[in-house]
Symmetry: C2
Subunit: 295 residues, 2 copies
Amino acid sequence: MSVKIAKNSGFCFGVKRAIKIASEAAQGNHKIVTLGPIIHNPQMVEKLASEGIERVNEVSEIQGRPTIIRSHGVKKEVLEELIANNIEIINATCPYVSKTQEYAKELSEQGYMVVIMGDKNHPEVIALSSYIEGECLIVASAEDVPEKKYQKVGIISQTTRKIDDLQKLVSIFIPKCHEMRVMNTICNATSIRQESTLELAKESDLMIVVGGRNSSNTKMLARISEDFVETFHIETACEIDKKWFKGRNNIGLTAGASTPDWVIVEVYNKIIECMGNINQKVDKIKDIPGFKEEE
Amino acid sequence: MSVKIAKNSGFCFGVKRAIKIASEAAQGNHKIVTLGPIIHNPQMVEKLASEGIERVNEVSEIQGRPTIIRSHGVKKEVLEELIANNIEIINATCPYVSKTQEYAKELSEQGYMVVIMGDKNHPEVIALSSYIEGECLIVASAEDVPEKKYQKVGIISQTTRKIDDLQKLVSIFIPKCHEMRVMNTICNATSIRQESTLELAKESDLMIVVGGRNSSNTKMLARISEDFVETFHIETACEIDKKWFKGRNNIGLTAGASTPDWVIVEVYNKIIECMGNINQKVDKIKDIPGFKEEE
């Protein structure tokens, strides 16, 4: 009977960076806010609130306070509004997300009809689409592509999507356009977490995926895992039901790029408890079997 | 019992144009040559020879005579050599092929590793690759793509390939590169002939594909047809064997973009003869059931 964690589980570069920027800003200033959740993990957002970083949802709630821009970025118009109102901006947008925004702008300026593969209601996609001047199409997958011909199509992706969905989308567009430019903006952190999760799911008889229910990259890990084995997507250890593990021998654990280490450790220890191996509990994520930090 | 021809069968715009350029040049000058076959149809090349257009294979055989550049184009270096030798050039390169050469040059100048989907021994591809300054990869299909990562990949295709092969190739490259630019250079004449052939093959119990054995687009039509029904690729009527038609009711006929009308009519009449319906013979391609000229 074993519990193993997928390689590279947990915080990615962009999330670590955003948390660091926020924490440092909070030390010098006790009246800062984030506009929307800084990352898609309610537990981490709560912890930051306890450090004095208030989350507001609308520009009108900022009331002159220094404002952290969430890792997912915000709409161009919102940034312009903050600047016009002389708000101090602490930009924690993931650099890979910023790069995607630059590509969106560039493709749009070059006359491409820009296609974003992503969730049209996700803040990253909402922000991204604001950088496109001309025609823009947001699709969740190849199935959403209209029966229509285009001249020049520029394709980008929300940073946390699946590579095979991008492959299908690009393939669908080939007979529909004369020219296509594709920027593979699925970030490396997403790709390696997906690969490690896939690998572990194949050798497990149950998978536990830990991370925010609003986290796009965590939801993708769950989708990938589900194709191979029974999978539960949870946010915290208290959601775990002992019955899940009955008759299971190889439990796989994976976590999204915005899931804090302490949440993962709590989940691991709860699984261990359910399986009756309490002497195998750990204090740190690096002690969970299978863990390997992202290089 | 019926014999039907696929819509749009026979000469495409580029082939008609090349033949017209050659014939007009021959009227004013009885000492012109083509460097290589002007189109990939031995019967047409023979007919042009009877009009005084000699085919040579090497620059050294030109001996100062005005030279027709074949519809498939020639290498940049060959053109330069002709110019250096003050040879009068009559350029019958298909405009769509010339456009593909421009794309090859442009992608190469923009720092893309240029991938040509095509047959590395085909004159069009040999000519095309001469316009690429930097790294270049010629692949027949997605199976030929090496296990390697690239930064910027620019993909073009020989004008006569299959669109689904291009889709597979593009899809294979997505996880292998950061940026991709694809010019769909499969020409419209190719696509519509492939679609019409596919349509007819599905409703036939035998298909006859007429065209040069060296003709890439004709070979593609045969490949498409073969996936659905027994198919014979022939160059002329005299290759037909009466036995093929025994027990067949719906015969489909299709022809490549370089197959002359008179060759198609001869084939149709031979089939009609084999089936014992000699009073259904025709004089012109437009009288063959199912014929519809390309718009």
